[in-house]
């Protein structure tokens, strides 16, 4: 009964979305206020319907309804409750329902918070969002219906992939989807602007918060995925340049560029056409990522099912939406008049450089990701493109980007000279050089990690300089500086914090460049020395869990013969689906991770792989600091009041 209700709600949602596409768009074309106004309630209804469908599906999972095919394939009664709930989106069908839920939530948000938008623009944005939602809902209902029944009911489910039974991975998809779907909203704004043939500062003021929010969620989602890969896959690395990872990095790169170019549109009225193009690109890359992951073209943990029909459907949507948008762009963009003259050396110029480098990195990553696919399709043989390619091709582009990241925010708009900026950054440069020198000395002249340390320090010190300069610290008395700090726009704080977060990540990446590992075979009682510690294997024993059995090693870590702590790496075997997972033992003190993986057992002993990962946690902390910066920037009062102030400008004609 609940299942049928969910199915019905999803069908209703499709109808609402279809209406949400047609009525506001036609209304906007004919300037019919009533038809345009219908977008708001329709968006809310669509959201409520999908929410009901999602809750119905979640209920089927919680009660383990074995007459629902989707539950049987992906769940089991023995699973802990939390993973029954998260299992709702731990499979292809459920994750698509979550995708649409987030999309319609964004639609409802545009409907709710967008009362101050010019009504024509709001109607068009809602119409485009409705169109996207219609496509995805048709995709769910026709190719991947989560509410299919099976008869007779199975005795019990087949279990969820044990790799996915993990809290980090339970949160990773929703965060990433929030980011992906955020690009759909900026896409909708861009298409609406193209239909209208006008991009103004108010448009920039509306797009920037959405782009920023989407960027923050993408950042968190990618960081969480990377962290999960680090502790769950047991390979000791944090980024593998896997095609699936790349397909989440690509929209991130485009959306980073978008966040920066939207500032120029809002503040200076320049770069409008470019910003619209970036918004289209960010969504195109999100769709491409969805296609690569969902179609089964790539084989990875993320690919739940390889079904050609689904791949073709998503590819068709990709072609229609993105192709249509680019055709519209080619038709309308020439009619938009560029404004805002600026010298190449200026804040705008720095932001153009940022965009240029980010897009080049994205292009390189895109080529590296898709080339093996194309070659295979064309019968050119099987090849793969690994980390060496990506490191070699992206680093030379990333280094100038990071070097310029500290300079850009200190430049004035319109026209700048380099010398005063460099003068204000002399102490940051000195610190960075010092960091580079010290790292070089401490690491035994390892150039690249030391350079990474130098750049990380450069970014953090550069961000600090920006803030110190603005509040007049060291030039004014402390109370004055304090007042100015309070009055400083939050967007300025946010930008500086996000840039500093990038610096923290750079430090983490540099530290991981110094990671060392060893592989030893120990018998109980035996010990080995590594990374300044003595590692003693005490025992290897059974350690069963709620729905798995496990073998676990107890390893004492000693300094000067004193046990400091015990680490317990394990291997779990899940009887349902007969799969095993590696549970790495990780001990962190924030400056370094000790990381241990249990290998095969040999003659009563065990093979252990031990990693010493300096600065590893900083990689993810940096990413969360970046997202925090975006959050602070979003809480800026001016973001919230921007639209009402500008309402007369964009009032319907």
């Amino acid at each position: 009964m609940i299942t049928e209700l969910g199915h019905f709600a999803l069908t209703m949602a499709l109808a609402f979305c279809l209406a949400q596409t047609v009525l506001p768009l036609v209304g906007a074309a004919q300037r019919d206020a009533r038809m345009m106004a219908s977008g708001v309630p329709l968006a809310n209804c669509a959201m409520l319907s999908v929410l009901i469908a999602f809750l119905c599906l979640a209920t089927s999972y919680v009660v383990n309804d074995t007459s629902v095919l989707n539950v049987v394939q992906n769940s089991h009664s023995d699973k802990p409750l939390i993973y029954k709930i998260t299992g709702t989106w731990g499979n292809h069908e459920g994750s698509m329902v979550l995708w649409v839920l987030v999309l319609t939530l964004c639609g409802a948000a545009v409907a709710g918070f967008g009362r101050d938008l010019p009504s024509v623009l709001q109607a068009r944005v809602l119409g485009v969002l409705g169109l996207i939602a219609t496509g995805f809902m048709a995709f769910i209902l026709f190719t991947s219906n989560p509410f299919d029944r099976m008869w007779p009911p199975a005795p019990d489910g087949q279990g969820l992939n044990p790799l996915l039974q993990d809290l980090g991975l339970a949160l990773h998809p929703p965060l990433l989807y929030l980011g992906y779907v955020g690009t759909a909203v900026t896409f909708a704004f861009a298409v609406a602007a193209l239909i209208e043939g006008r991009v103004d500062a108010a448009w920039g003021a509306w797009v920037r918060p959405w782009a920023l929010a989407s960027w923050a969620f993408l950042t968190c989602g990618i960081a969480l995925g990377s962290w999960w890969a680090y502790y769950e896959l047991g390979w000791g690395g944090y980024w593998f340049w896997d095609p699936v990872e790349n397909s989440s990095l690509l929209p991130w790169l485009a959306s980073t560029a978008l966040v920066h170019s939207a500032i120029v549109v809002e503040k200076r009225g320049a770069l409008k056409i470019w910003t619209v193009l970036l918004a289209l690109l960010a969504f195109a890359l999100s769709m491409l990522g969805t296609f690569l992951v969902r179609s089964g073209v790539l084989n990875s943990v993320h690919t739940f099912a390889a079904d050609p029909a689904r791949g073709v459907f998503i590819l068709a949507m990709l072609v229609i939406y993105v192709g249509g948008a680019f055709a519209l762009f080619a038709w309308r963009a020439p009619s938009m008049v560029p404004q805002g003259v600026f010298a190449p050396l200026s804040r705008e110029g720095a932001l153009v450089l940022n965009n240029l480098l980010l897009c080049c990195i994205a292009a390189v990553v895109l080529v590296g990701t898709l080339y093996p696919l194309f070659l295979d399709l064309l019968g050119g043989g099987m090849i793969s493109v690994g980390p060496p390619f990506f490191n070699l091709a992206t680093l030379p582009l990333a280094l100038p980007l990071i070097a310029a990241m500290a300079l850009g925010p200190l430049m004035p708009w319109k026209r700048a000279t380099l010398w005063p900026v460099i003068q204000r950054l002399w102490w940051a440069a000195l610190l960075a050089l010092g960091g580079f020198g010290i790292a070089l000395a401490l690491t035994g002249a390892q150039f690249w990690p030391a350079l990474g340390f130098g750049l990380g320090v450069w970014l953090i010190a550069g961000a600090a300089t920006d803030i110190f300069d603005r509040i007049g610290l060291f030039r004014q008395s402390l109370p004055v500086a304090g007042t100015r700090a309070r009055n400083l726009p939050r967007s300025a704080w946010g930008a500086a914090i996000a840039h500093a977060g990038m610096g923290v990540t750079a430090l983490g990446v540099a530290g991981m460049g110094l990671a060392t590992e060893t592989l030893v075979a120990l018998n109980p009682g035996q010990s080995t020395r590594f990374a300044g510690y003595e590692w003693r294997l005490d025992s290897v024993r059974d350690a069963p869990g709620p729905n798995f059995s496990a073998r676990q090693a107890d390893v004492s870590v000693l300094i000067d013969g004193q046990v400091v702590f015990v680490m317990t790496p394990a291997r779990r075997t899940f009887p349902i689906g007969s799969m095993t997972t590696t549970e790495a033992a990780i001990r962190t003190n924030m400056l370094r991770d000790l990381y241990m993986v249990l290998g095969e057992e040999r003659d009563g002993g065990a093979v252990l792989r031990i990693h010493h990962n300096p600065m590893a946690p900083w990689i993810w902390f940096g990413a969360y600091i970046m997202a925090l910066g975006a959050g602070i920037s979003l809480s800026d009062r001016r973001v919230r009041v921007a639209a009402p102030n500008r309402r007369p400008v964009g009032a319907p004609a």
Binding site: G386, L397, T582
Partner: protein, 161 residues
Amino acid sequence: MTRKRRRLTILLLCGLGLGTATALTLTAFQDNLVFFQSPTDIATATPPPGRAFRLGGLVEEGSVTRGTTSEGRPSVLFRVTDGRNTVGVQYSGVLPDLFREGQGVVTLGQMGVGGVFMAREVLARHDENYMPPEAAEALRRSGLWNPATGAPPPPGGRVGS
């Protein structure tokens, strides 16, 4: 600065950026494309040492032995077969959870001395019923199994050699 000159500067910058990106991609491709080789490919033409490639096939039944490398690290020796030819592989590391004799495997590394493949990475997939694409490709190339026509050979059985 006039609008024309500004445009020219930006165009030049874009050209420079794209040119650099293309040049970087091409140079990086030159040395870092990892080709796939089946045991038969290696038997026909031994690849030069020092160039990394991927080797795929089935782990030969009864071929897995434990040993120690010259540096004293524990290692595993096994043979990868596509049914017609086999290649010896040495790997020093933690084997993936689903590494089994008779099952598909993909290894990344380069040829060492004496025709032994020195693996840097060994990949078997997370799912028991799943055949890594490269392993399937090796079997397809050796003509012993066409993935389009039927089920994979029984994991336990040796496919002749």
